[in-house]
């Protein structure tokens, strides 16, 4: 099957049924908001820049000219718009989005909690926003101290020996963790014999994809009937070829791995690395510290657990924590406390004071010869560090513990309240999210989970994650987070009940949903078959 056909199948599996008009069928589409290019008129301007001075122009001519062959012949067709038209265009576009700041967003695995506004205030402080990443350390003590302090807080929260802030997202943290794993095994002379990474069948797609990027083969381990990892299957697969086990805990089913000690011992017995996907850390703050429990490496998602905004898909930040044996392999350079007593510096910072004589720096190049090196430029998505640091300090230890308490309570509340209407394949106490199945509605009424999700949109609520984890038929993965009021949770319960009722009484209306959104279900298969990935500027024959 070609990639296009496969993409079509995927979309068909979820978007079946709808009769889409073919874009080539002649009739022009109705446009909700024109492209910004269509507001363009030659010579229209939003921003102007000064002209160079007479002197600048004169002395510059003495410098070597750009070679004629290196110059651009035609200007890029960027839009030419007024500032007001620009603003209205993007403001209108923004109004086509659902967002946390507009309504409930129980998207499982994504931790769509409130993004506090004081975090934005902090990130915009000129001392941070105008700080150049290549500034000498003497000029950037504030940025370096913040990075060092955030690393200290993440260490305490996770129980790891050290933290690297560099990775830009969760998947980037996974890549960093697996590159360190490979470097560790190579340092032990086992780099080429340990070739396999074990991944449970409930894992995020990024886990196997990461293993492949590092040159590892993925072996899938099945889950047991309780939703945990099948210990016998794991033990039977672990051997001297195993480089690592990557698991998410709590799992993508929202279930804490209650045999975690046995899992970790089995992994370590064969000399493999235990990787924890930290996507679900929001469930266990103050309750379970993965480093202390024996994991070797974990990535944090600052854009999930620590409230930095998702931005429509990013930026995030995916720091990694590591146990002692991976410390030499951490990416570099690390922000360090070069002079001063760490206890004193921490104590002062927690009291809002600077420590006289303390000096922060980046590690000297080559100071850790076994380091995997840089995984990105500079020291990380610093703006996200400012927000996460602000969030952690605002909550404090007690507040972070309460975050997990309330996240878990809310998920269990929905678990109990919705169990009459939807199938619950793993009916046990969950952590921060709960996974239902729409199989009852599918079998009885021919209504799929996709239909249910689209009907939720008509209630002004973002649907849960659907069709994931893969081991649950017609999965609906619900993560309410700790910042939603009981009234909001109850409204969601009502909406889900209304939809379950309608699945019986009027299933056709669910298949036609959504009807209140700016556009209806879109022809995804057609989009993949005839890719239209950029504005054509009226050219003929453009894709």
């Amino acid at each position: 099957m070609s990639v296009a056909e496969r993409a079509g199948t995927v979309a068909d599996a979820s978007g079946r049924g709808a009769a889409f008009a073919s874009p080539s069928a002649g009739e022009a589409a109705t446009v909700v908001e024109p492209l910004i290019f269509e507001a363009s008129a030659p010579g229209r301007r939003a921003v102007r820049f000064p002209q160079p001075s007479e002197r600048a122009r004169r002395v510059a001519t003495g410098q070597p000219d750009l070679p004629a062959g290196s110059l651009r012949a035609t200007a890029p067709r960027l839009p030419e718009v007024s500032e007001l038209d620009l603003l209205r265009h993007f403001n209108r576009l923004s109004q086509l989005n659902h967002a946390i700041d507009l309504g409930f967003y129980p998207l499982g695995s994504c931790t769509m909690k409130y993004n506090p506004k004081v975090n934005e205030w902090a990130a915009a402080l000129p001392g941070f926003a105008a700080s150049h990443p290549v500034d000498p350390a003497a000029s950037s003590q504030g940025s370096l101290e913040l990075e060092w302090l955030l690393g200290e807080l993440l260490r305490e929260i996770s129980g790891f020996a050290a933290v690297s802030l560099q990775p830009a997202a969760g998947a980037h943290g996974e890549l960093t963790g697996m590159l360190m794993t490979r470097a560790y095994h190579r340092a032990n002379g086992q780099g080429e014999t340990r070739t396999r990474v074990l991944v449970p069948d409930s894992a995020h797609g990024t886990n196997p994809a990461t293993a492949s990027m590092v040159g590892y083969e993925t072996v899938t381990i099945r889950s047991n009937e309780r939703g945990g990892i099948d210990l016998d299957a794991l033990r039977a697969t672990l051997d001297e070829r195993t480089a690592a086990l990557m698991i998410t805990n709590p799992s993508t089913l929202g279930i804490f791995e209650d045999q975690i000690d046995a899992v970790l011992s089995a992994v370590h017995e064969v000399g493999a690395i235990a990787y924890m996907d930290g996507a679900n850390l929001n469930a266990i703050l103050g309750r379970f510290r993965p480093g202390e429990a024996g994991f070797d490496v974990m990535h944090f998602n600052l854009h999930k657990t620590f409230s930095t905004p998702h931005g429509g898909g990013g930026p995030g930040a995916g720091p990694v924590g590591v146990g002692e044996r991976l410390v030499p392999f951490l990416p570099g350079p690390q922000p360090i406390l070069a002079e001063g007593d760490p206890d004193t510096v921490r104590r002062n910072a927690w009291a809002g004071r600077s420590t006289p004589g303390a000096r922060f720096a980046l590690e000297e190049p080559g100071s850790r010869p076994e380091s995997i090196g840089r995984v990105r430029m500079h020291t990380g998505n610093f703006g996200m560090f400012v927000r996460a640091y602000t969030y952690i300090r605002s909550n404090g230890g007690a507040g972070l513990r309460a975050v997990s308490d309330d996240a878990v309570l809310a998920a269990n509340y929905l678990r109990v309240r919705l169990a009459d209407a939807y199938d619950l394949p793993y009916d046990r106490i969950c952590k921060h999210e709960v996974v239902f199945s729409g199989r009852r509605q599918k079998r009885a009424n021919g209504v799929t989970t996709l239909d249910i999700a689209k009907a939720i949109l008509d209630h002004g609520i973002h649907p849960p994650t659907i069709y994931f984890p893969l081991i649950v038929e017609e999965a609906l993965m619900i993560e309410p987070t700790e910042t939603e009021s009981l009234e909001t949770l109850d409204r969601f319960v009502e909406a889900m009940h209304e939809i379950a009722d309608r699945a019986g009484s009027d299933p056709g209306s669910l298949r036609r949903a959504p009807v209140t959104t700016p556009v209806g279900r879109l022809d995804e298969a057609g989009a993949a078959r005839r890719p239209d990935l950029r504005h054509a500027f009226g050219e003929t024959g453009a894709e």
Binding site: E33, G43, R44, A46, P50, P52, A60, Q63, L66, S70, A75, P76, L78, L86, N91, S94, A99, D135, P136, Q141, A169, G170, H172, M178, L179, G205, T206, A209, M213, T218, G286, G312, G313, G314, G318, W350, R374, V375, R376, H378, T390, R393, G397, R401, D406, V408, L409, N412, I429, E482, S485, L486, T517, D523, A527, A528, P531, L533, H535, E543
Partner: protein, 447 residues
């Protein structure tokens, strides 16, 4: 918890509904042996206290009065309207647009971003964004390996040192070998990558040649000839470019680049100590199935309304798992939106003015130092907006100028030990004649 909506009564009602006595019961599944022993995170702060703490830290950064520092991150005007656009909560607090019916704002803005990146680069398809310019370049090199089924890459030594480090890191896992093409950095050298030097390391095992335009030293590389040297052996040209320069310099599609990457920070994104920035990637349509990262495509709904969706997802990890083109999931969407708003705000004329003024002021800077006998250009080649200048006693004087609030560029010997006494000076449209005069005066004073 700082942002809890729950009253005591709410808690009670929820616990009762769940059928447990206390919240502790909900954590009974964590085996006692692995429960947290400690959690010594400092106590909570009120908003005014947390503002005090963050102001303390921000205040410890010393922003230079005058700066000629670039080296991969540039101080440009960020039009106020750009901040207004990305500050919209509907953009900032949305997730990845997995439900297109309620994500058309994000999706259409990404389609506009892809269109603008194609225009700038002269390429046929652009991805929805990468973490930064360096990771985009590393992903491009891996993509070239997949496209050519080869496992060596060549990179010019005039590519940003941090980008080369990231390439090494990404290639270390799968064991892809990297060969370096030495640029002409010796005394009296051009500061460029010679096509002959590239040709001598390129053979039919090499997947791609990675070159930067303008290169790390600001020099204008012979990209067309470098591309030809790569294409002769069936290798690809990966061009890492600076986006504002594309208003003046030839679009990479024109000189035969196969994959184009860029650090998008100059397009309306604050310096913010190195991130978040945005990596750009563009390629030819024929290569799209091997392209990493999200793509947005136009389509329509059953009523014939035009709409946008994430498409060609069969390249991606959530569909293909271990067979995906990359593991990338979260990208830098809001920064891509900033770049889209920036490019819309400046338009083609504004972008050309930014490029032209940056270039003029860089030349003005070099000429002023030469005129005053304070330094001389280290390389002979024409340059864009960054220039390597040899200044006797540069280490001492760089430090002395910093004391006076003047940041005299990037000390090149920290990356290239042979480039002693050489400073890499960057100018942008924000560099004023007074800044240049201040640099000259301060260097005079430290003779």
């Amino acid at each position: 918890m700082a942002y809890s909506p729950h009253t005591e009564a709410d808690h009670r009602r929820m616990l009762d509904a769940v059928g447990v006595v206390s919240i502790e019961d909900l954590f009974a599944d964590i085996p006692p042996a692995v429960r947290a022993d400690r959690f010594a995170v400092p106590p909570p702060l009120t908003e005014q206290e947390v503002r005090g703490e963050l102001s303390r830290l921000a205040g410890r950064n010393v922003l230079p009065r005058v700066s000629f520092l670039g080296a991969g991150a540039y101080r440009h005007l960020v039009p106020a309207v750009v901040g207004e656009v990305i500050g919209r909560a509907e953009f900032a607090t949305a997730y990845t647009p997995y439900q297109p019916e309620v994500s058309q704002g994000t999706l259409q803005s990404i389609y506009e971003f892809q269109s603008m990146v194609c225009e700038l680069t002269g390429m046929e398809v652009a991805s929805a964004s990468h973490y930064d310019g360096a990771t985009a370049t590393a992903e491009a090199a891996l993509m070239a390996c997949r496209l050519t089924r080869r496992d060596r890459i060549a990179v010019s030594s005039a590519v940003h040192p941090q980008v080369r480090e990231v390439l090494r890191t990404y290639c270390s896992g799968p064991g892809i070998e990297i060969v370096e093409v030495p640029a002409e950095l010796a005394e009296g050298g051009s500061g460029l990558t010679a096509p002959d030097a590239a040709a001598s390391v390129l053979d039919d095992d090499v997947a791609c040649l990675v070159a930067q335009q303008p290169n790390f030293f600001g020099g204008i590389e012979p990209m067309r000839e470098l591309g030809e040297a790569a294409h002769v052996v069936g290798a690809q040209l990966v061009a890492l470019v600076e986006p504002t320069s594309l208003a003046i310099l030839e679009a990479p599609g024109g000189y035969g680049a196969d994959i184009v990457t860029a650090e998008g920070q100059p397009l309306g994104i604050p310096l913010s100590f190195g991130g978040p920035y945005v990596g750009l990637m563009a390629a030819r349509m024929a290569s799209v199935r091997q392209m990493p990262g999200r793509l947005v495509g136009a389509t329509r709904d059953a009523q014939g309304r035009k709409g946008y969706v994430l498409t060609l997802q069969a390249r991606e990890q959530h569909i293909r798992r271990e067979k995906a083109a990359s593991n990338i999931c979260t990208n830098q969407a809001l920064c891509a939106l900033a770049a889209t708003a920036y490019l819309s705000a400046v338009g083609p004329d504004g972008l050309r003015e930014v490029a032209q003024l940056s270039m003029t002021q860089a030349r003005h800077t070099a000429a002023a130092l030469e005129e005053a006998g304070l330094g001389e250009r280290r390389f002979t080649a024409p340059y864009f907006a960054e220039v390597a200048v040899r200044v006797p006693g540069a280490a001492r004087r760089h430090a002395a100028l910093l004391e006076r609030g003047i940041l005299a560029g990037h000390p090149l010997w920290t990356d290239y030990p042979d480039l002693d006494d050489t400073l890499l000076l960057a100018a942008t449209e924000l560099t004023t004649d007074d800044d240049i005069a201040a640099l000259v005066d301060a260097l005079e004073a430290t003779r």
